[in-house]
């Protein structure tokens, strides 16, 4: 066994979203540290993934031991302003269904939170909702 490959965990989570949103109807998706200039009145998605705390799960030192790593994927969904929430929630369902209680490549996703309406969209000029998905990963040393 080896220490957790956090970049692999990131790729699992982000890759799942990128693949889903590449399907028809395709929705642009951006991740941390990526430049993006959205087209006005269009729909697009921003996924911000962060790792959180690691906790002891079992006895042991640097071998034959396990830790639990947790994190959160915050998915901001933007859609055209002034035309109701329907189009936004259609995307929200796609995002939610993608992670809801799924266990993939050792990453376990909890039931998602949202989509919740964001009162002050950032950037402005869009209707914004947010889906948050907490996840955990067992590190086997």
């Amino acid at each position: 066994m080896a220490a957790a490959d956090l970049n692999s965990v990131r790729a699992t989570i982000e890759g799942r979203l990128a693949t889903e949103l590449a399907d028809s109807p395709a929705i642009p998706v951006v991740f941390h540290n990526m430049a993006y200039e959205p087209t006005p009145n269009s729909s697009w998605v921003q996924c911000l993934l962060s790792f959180g705390t690691s906790t002891y799960l079992t006895h042991g030192g640097t071998s034959d031991s396990r830790n639990e790593l947790v994190g959160i994927a915050v998915v901001n969904i933007f859609s055209a302003k002034g035309v109701g929430p329907g189009a936004n929630y259609v995307i929200g369902k796609r995002v939610r269904d993608l992670y809801n209680r799924i266990n993939v490549s050792g990453v376990h996703f909890d039931p998602p939170i949202g989509p919740e309406v964001v009162a002050s969209p950032s950037p402005e000029g869009y209707f914004q909702t947010q889906v948050r998905v907490t996840f955990d990963f067992i590190e086997e040393l």
Binding site: L57, T58, H59, G60, G61, D64, E68
Partner: protein
């Protein structure tokens, strides 16, 4: 010797009592040792006197359940041993896994095993045991 932390501990076990091996996935252990006492007060005494008598122990080992983890299955299923001759051996370590160092060792019997599956939580197994015969302490 520095103060020890729980995660430094370990549990070794062998159902046949020949060669202890580390159980992967243990998350806690406890051992309670009790010495019975005999009242040796005599006529005319005004204060009771005692001498130590039989010593016994019991405790619990908790595991994060993983059917593929080394040593877990043999440990959990030892509770199913019929006509158990108490030939299983345990060594409970406060730190490290060097036999005879920072540990307590004994033969014993697993008297009950409980496995729990709770929504939103990791599956946990708890095994209670009693000691049989000599308890050897190496905690100094």
């Amino acid at each position: 010797m520095a103060v020890l932390r729980g995660e430094q501990g370990a549990v070794q076990f062998d159902a046949a009592g020949s060669s202890n091996a580390t159980i992967v996935g243990t998350r806690s252990w406890s051992l309670s040792t009790t010495k019975e006492t005999l009242d040796v007060s005599k006529h005319g005494d005004t204060f009771r006197s005692f001498v130590g008598s039989m010593i016994s122990g019991s405790g619990t080992v908790e595991l994060v359940y993983d059917p593929d983890a080394t040593g877990q299955a043999g440990f959990l299923e030892d509770v199913l041993t019929t006509a158990d001759p108490a030939d299983a051996t345990f060594e409970l370590f406060t730190t490290g896994t060097s036999s005879g160092t920072d540990s307590v060792s004994f033969a014993g019997i697993i008297t009950d095993m409980e496995i729990t599956s709770t929504v939103g939580e990791i599956n946990i197994v708890s095994c209670n045991f009693i000691t049989s015969g000599t308890i050897t302490g190496n905690l100094e």
